[in-house]
């Protein structure tokens, strides 16, 4: 087993055993989607119109739930020291941790989206569009969150700082994710343009995220 696969398997195992991964995220997602109709009223037309935005917001907040433990847990028990010392490039190790986080947090949200879309009376086309945009966009949320996790890991109560640091950075992902979902259903834009920009944001964050996070870690932990 290579170093990266060992890290990937361990983090996925931890997420499943500790319970802070898939189940917690999906439950939080469900609660957000269930609460919104209580706030805006049971108008199905309105819910159908704002449904993609609700699902995207719910997914974004659900991703935040576990991001603060992404590196903090390893810092607290000394594992991060050994990860820093190891021969594996830190950027790749952080990417492996981000992949594990996405598989255990982001992917279950994508899978749960069709069911939650039904609760908001979304049409099948809209549900498919939201699920597809979340599939393309949630890796960006994880990678942006990785930077925030690295910046806050050495700070006491850094978990509180994390949303303040990363939520502004996720705004473009949110904008183009919702825009692509809406465009698929109502237009007037084509689905392709905002979706391509969303994919570009994800690819950019996949490249930049681990490097920025590694630099923040090296600087912060000295």
């Amino acid at each position: 087993m290579t170093a990266l696969s060992a890290l990937l398997v361990r983090d996925m195992r931890l997420a499943i055993r500790v319970g802070g991964g898939a189940l917690m995220g999906v439950l939080f997602f469900l609660i957000v989607v269930t609460l919104v109709p209580f706030a805006v009223g049971p108008d199905l037309v309105q819910l159908r119109r704002i449904g993609p935005a609700i699902l995207w917001l719910g997914a974004l907040l659900a991703c935040l739930l576990t991001l603060d433990r992404l590196l903090a847990a390893d810092h607290e028990d000394g594992s991060l020291d050994l990860i820093l010392m190891g021969g594996t490039p830190l950027e790749l190790s952080l990417l492996a941790k981000a992949v594990a986080h996405w598989i255990t947090t982001g992917l279950p949200l994508v899978i749960a989206t069709p069911l939650l879309g039904l609760l908001l009376d979304l049409e099948p086309l809209a549900i498919g569009a939201v699920a597809l945009t979340l599939l393309a966009g949630t890796p960006a949320l994880t990678c942006i969150g990785l930077i925030g996790a690295a910046l806050s890991v050495a700070l006491r109560r850094g978990g509180l700082l994390l949303p303040v640091l990363i939520l502004p950075l996720t705004v473009p992902v949110l904008i183009f994710g919702v825009a692509a979902s809406n465009a698929a259903v109502a237009g007037p834009l084509s689905f392709g343009a905002p979706f391509m920009i969303l994919c570009a944001l994800t690819l950019g964050s996949l490249v930049l995220g681990p490097f920025a996070a590694a630099a923040a870690l090296r600087h912060g932990l000295e």
Binding site: A3, S5, L7, D81, L84, M85
Partner: protein, 170 residues
């Protein structure tokens, strides 16, 4: 080599400097006889104050992870666990281990993955007399195979070694 000295004299900082976890403000650290392509940290085991273990993973899973991550595994996890006296607890979650057992599990990492330098910070903390004797035995074996041990300690290590005193008199 045993690093001795009062609290705050820099024993742990020196170990972290050697491991590459801290950057020296001046000077440099060289390891003669090692692999030139690899940093000292990549050729060293660092055993700090904390035991890098996950409570929800079993004893064997914890060791398997580090053996897989650090690579160059020398012996199966079971052998390393048996050598530190945890052979019967492989399937037990690490959450149930006592402080001494957690320390022994951390020491098993040093045996499972061979590295020439051992950087040990208070390695005997939490260990009972038998555990300390076993630790001394492992250090002697490591030294006998050409390895190097640099240990920060407040008590005797149980092996013949040089002593570097830091700070004032304890």
């Amino acid at each position: 080599m045993a690093l001795v000295g009062p609290n705050g004299s820099g024993k742990s900082s020196l170990l972290r400097l050697i491991a590459g976890l801290l950057r020296p403000s001046a000077g440099r650290i060289e390891f003669q006889g090692g692999t030139a392509e690899r940093t000292i940290g990549e050729q060293a085991h660092y055993l700090g104050h904390l035991d890098p273990l996950k409570p929800s993973l079993t004893v064997a899973e914890n060791l398997d992870f580090w053996a897989g991550y650090l690579g160059d595994r020398d012996s199966p996890a079971d052998e390393a666990l048996a050598a530190v006296g945890l052979g019967a607890l492989t399937d037990l979650p690490a959450a149930y281990l006592s402080a001494g057992q957690r320390r022994r599990l951390s020491l098993a990492r040093l045996l499972a993955v061979p590295r020439p330098i051992w950087l040990l910070d208070e390695p005997a903390s939490g260990l009972d007399a038998a555990g300390q004797e076993r630790l001394a035995e492992h250090m002697r074996e490591h030294l006998a195979t050409g390895g190097m041990v640099v240990a920060a300690t407040h008590g005797p290590l149980g092996i013949e070694c040089e002593e570097l005193r830091l700070g004032g008199s304890p």
